[in-house]
Symmetry: C2
Subunit: 257 residues, 2 copies
Amino acid sequence: MSHVQNIKAASAVCYGRHEPDTRSPLIRKLEAFVFLSRQDRTALEQLSAGARLVEPRTDLQRDGEMATDAVLVLDGFACRYKHRVTGDRQILAYLLPGDLCDVDAPHLGRMDHAVGTLSTCLVARISRETLATLMAQQPTVARALRLAKLAEEATAREWLVNLGTRSAAERMSHLFCELLTRLEAVGLAEDDGCKLPITQLDLADTLGLSSVHVNRTLQELRSRGLVELRGRSLKLRDLPSVRALAEFSPAYLRPAH
Amino acid sequence: MSHVQNIKAASAVCYGRHEPDTRSPLIRKLEAFVFLSRQDRTALEQLSAGARLVEPRTDLQRDGEMATDAVLVLDGFACRYKHRVTGDRQILAYLLPGDLCDVDAPHLGRMDHAVGTLSTCLVARISRETLATLMAQQPTVARALRLAKLAEEATAREWLVNLGTRSAAERMSHLFCELLTRLEAVGLAEDDGCKLPITQLDLADTLGLSSVHVNRTLQELRSRGLVELRGRSLKLRDLPSVRALAEFSPAYLRPAH
DNA sequence: CGAGACTTTGAGATCACTCAAGTCGAGTGG
DNA sequence: CCACTCGACTTGAGTGATCTCAAAGTCTCG
C-alpha cells in the first residue's frame, strides 16, 4: 500500500510519529545493518522533515552541476542515470524508499550523472551540514550509511555482470529479484510481489534493451509462469525458478553479514 | 618501458629511492588529486616495500573469502572480476599501476568478487593496520584516496553506460581511451600509446563480447585507421576520432577538478 | 470523449554469437 | 637447429538474439 499513487493520496503519508510500524523506510533499511538506539532513530526521523512530493520524471540533481545536498527517498522510485549525446539513456541505479543518496556528494565536484524521479516520489533534501552533524553525533548511523554504500557498490558490480553476460530474460529476472529483496527490507513487498511504478521504457534503459524487446521478454517470463507485471505491480509467481534463472543470491545486498 | 615483460626484467625495477623521476605510480596518481608533502610521499613510498612479483592469472583475493588486506599494484595489469556459474567471466574494473584497491575492505565481510592479475604484476599487500595508520597520520593522503575512490565509482558508472548502450566498436574505443588516460596519469603512456598486456579474451570479458567479435572489431578499428594493437602494445592512431566515436571525456577520472 | 502516453504486434534487418578449422609465434625438448 | 606444443589469434559460415520501423491497440486523465 505504500507507493504514492497520486498526489492526494501521498499527502496523507506520515512517517513514524505515532505508529510504531510506520517507521521511516530509512530506519527500516539501516536496522538491517546495525542496531539503532532511540537517539539514532530520532535523529534519522528528523531527516524526513520537510519532505516534498516530486512529480515523475523530474530531475533531483542535474548532470554536470555542483552536487549540493543529499537526497533521501521516502516513497516512490527514483534513479541515477546518464544520457548519451545520441539521446540514449542508461539507468545506473534505482533509488528506493529508504535510500539516502550522495552522502559524500560534497567531496565530489560536478555530478557526472543525473538523479531523477521515475514515479511520483516523496523526497527530502538533506543539507551537507545536517549530514555532517548526523555523522559526527551518531557514529552507529555513520557506520550503517557506510555499509549501505558498500551495498550500493556491490549492486553496481552485479549490474555490470548483468549487462555484460546475461540474456534479456536473465537480466530482467535478476533486476526483479533485486528490487523485490530491497523493497522487502523496507516493508514494501509481500507475497513475492511489490509495486513497480515505472514504464517498460524505463526497464529498457535499465537493462540495455529496446522497449520492444522488454515487452516480449516480459511476455516470455509470464508465459513460463515466472513473473507477472500488470498495472504497476510486479509479482514473482515462482520465486525459486526466477532466482535460479537469474542466478540471484541476495548476499551482496547485505555486506558484513 | 615500464611494463613487466618477464620476471627477470621486473626484478630490476626499483621505485623512487634515488631518482626523482621514478616516483612510485601511487604517488604520481595521487598527486593528480592533491599536493603531497614530503612526509606524505615518504609514507606512501613505504607502502611499496615488500612488493612481490605475481604471475599472470593469479588471484590476489578470492571471491567469497574474507577480505584481509588491501592490494597496491606497482606494475602490470590486474582486475576485479566475477565468475558466473556458467563459467562466464565479467571483468569489473582494471587495476593499473598506482591503484590501491579495497582501502575499506575491512568494513566488508566476504568479498563479492575476486581480484586477480591479468599480466605479470608487481604487487604490494598492505595490512589493515598500516592503512589505518597512514590514513590517520596523513590526512592529505586520506583525502586523495577518497578522491581516487570517487573516480573508481565514476568509472563503474561509465562502464554501465558502455555495456548498456554502446556498440562493440564504441565500447572498445571507450575502454582504450580510459586506459590510455589512466596510464598517462602515472607516466606509462606516451604518444597516444601504451602497453596493453592482456589477451583478446580478457578484452572480451571486459566488454561483454565474444573473443571472436573482439578480434573482428579490432580489425575494423585498425582498418579505419583509428587504433592499432599488436604484440602487447596499443596505439591510438587518431585520438580525436577515437574519442569522438567513444564519446569519451576524461572528466570522470578527475573528480573535484 | 479526446489526447497523449504507454503497450503490443508484425516483419525485416543487423549485430553479435557459436562452432569449427586453421594460422601464427614463443617456448621446450630432443 | 628442428620438431613439437600450447596458447593466442584469425577466418569462414551459419545461427540466433535483439533491434528498428511502423502501425494498431489500450489505458488514464482531464
